[in-house]
């Protein structure tokens, strides 16, 4: 569902640029709104959320899609935790559909999907491992790294039960906005994948904007 935002970038209290292949880990206070902006289009932002006080309670794919009875995320979707409680709500979306079933690329899954000798290509899960190693103050461990959202990524499920990776439906300037329903941590890997069309084979930067609401 396409819902445009009335917020302007001029009124954001912070704007951070995240290069492809980099991670972004920040706290979002309850009530604040965060926007992920796909600057050049077709980028995939592999994103995890955690309760800021109890990071072991994290974004849950299963609880989120089951409670909304739909496998895709868009405006109105409530992102739920592993305890089946609301973490954030998507309040604006100019893309229309985001994947949460395709997971994140990893060195190890690259060996399965593409080639055993592609294990050393950079990947989202390696970015997350670096994030939890470099930022011990957030108290995250590998066990906390669950299944993610792929903002801007298009992974249609066929009626026959197939799962396909399609060229993105995002485009330059498309964005998604989320309101934190409690204090949360947001961990993004701006996807470095060079082997599939999720980012048009061309990883590009994204912007993260925040508003106090």
């Amino acid at each position: 569902m396409i819902v445009e935002s009335s917020r302007t970038s001029a009124s954001a209290y912070r704007i951070d640029r995240v290069g492809s292949g980099d991670y972004y880990l920040e706290r979002i206070p309850k009530g604040h709104v965060v926007r992920l902006l796909d600057i050049e289009g077709n980028q995939a932002a592999d994103t995890l959320f955690f309760d800021a006080l109890i990071p072991s309670e994290r974004y849950s794919v299963t609880d989120t899609i089951r409670e909304q009875s739909n496998v895709y995320l868009t405006a109105g979707s409530v992102l739920r935790s592993t305890a089946n409680k609301p973490l954030l709500t998507i309040v604006a979306d100019t893309c229309g559909r985001h994947d949460t079933l395709g997971g994140a690329c990893a060195s190890e899954s690259n060996t399965v999907r593409y080639d055993l000798e592609k294990r050393c290509m950079h990947s989202c899960r390696d970015s997350w491992m670096l994030a939890i190693a470099e930022k011990p103050e957030y108290g995250l461990t590998k066990a906390d790294i669950g299944h993610n959202i792929n903002f801007f990524m298009n992974v249609p499920i066929t009626v026959e039960g197939g799962l396909t990776f399609e060229d993105g439906i995002s485009a330059p300037g498309k964005y998604v906005e989320l309101r934190a329903e409690r204090d949360v941590l947001m961990l993004i890997s701006n996807c470095p994948q060079l082997n599939n069309p999720c980012n048009g084979y061309n990883p590009t930067p994204i912007d993260v904007l925040m508003w106090e609401e």
Partner: protein, 238 residues
């Protein structure tokens, strides 16, 4: 011991280490059963079943015969070598206590003893703690015997599962695996009362994986997954 058979009533939980080369057959004795299951590597409990990796490697939304069940480390815990159901869910998760209370009434051991209304999430937590694992260890699980379909808009529907009576699914373990399971209802279950079915679980030695194996040859991805397993056991005694 080279084989074992047991039966689990609905609403129960169990965990066990299964060695590679052993196969587990689940039989839905009553119809309408659900078996929630996750896997861990007993040598490294950080390595666990990964539903997204499993689905995207095989370009599928459902699990069925021929599919392999992957860890987050690119290895195969188990292969589905026989399957009479043809479609199992791995995206809907578990019932929480709040679901069970709404659907069938709250869990109460004082009044219901071992017929209490156990929920899948708590059932997993109990078994996980026995290995030092806590809630954050729990990945998206498999729900055997429960078929979930989607329409063109992505809406999910649980297919009525009563026709699973007597149906079986067999998992051949490709590496040593800690199996955590429960027999609590599927979270989209539409039954009017807490299910009272029964599942049989049998363990026996599997035939060796042949060159023409269906799971190995389902797709090039699975051939590479089996290669990762072979590397993991390089030098190990059979």
């Amino acid at each position: 011991m080279d084989n074992y058979v047991t039966k689990l009533d609905a609403g129960k939980h169990w965990s066990l280490k299964v060695r590679r080369g052993v196969q587990m057959t689940l039989t839905d004795l009553s119809g309408g059963s659900n078996v929630g299951m996750v896997f861990f590597n007993p040598e490294n409990l950080y390595e666990r079943y990964n539903a997204p990796d499993t689905l995207k490697a095989q370009h599928t939304f459902k699990l069925a015969q021929g599919n392999c069940l992957y860890s987050d480390m690119g290895r195969i815990f188990a292969s589905i070598t026989k399957d009479e159901v043809h479609r199992h869910d791995t995206v809907c998760g578990n019932t929480h206590a709040s679901h069970i209370e709404l659907m069938f009434g709250a869990r109460n051991y004082q009044s219901d003893r071992n017929e209490w209304h156990q929920n899948g999430y708590d059932a997993f937590l109990v078994e996980l703690e026995k290995y030092g694992l806590t809630a954050n260890a729990l990945p998206a699980n498999i729900n055997w015997f429960s078929s979930v379909v989607t329409d063109a808009e992505g809406n999910m529907i649980l297919r009525t599962s009563a026709q699973t009576e007597g149906k079986r699914v067999t998992l051949r373990f490709e590496m040593d695996t800690l199996v955590i399971l429960h027999t609590c209802p599927h979270p989209l279950d539409l039954s009017r009362s807490y299910p009272r079915g029964q599942v049989e679980i049998s363990l026996e030695l599997a035939e060796p994986v042949g060159d023409d194996d269906e799971c190995l040859n389902l797709c090039p991805e699975n051939q590479r997954g089996f290669m990762n397993n072979a590397l993991y056991y390089l030098g190990a005694k059979e």
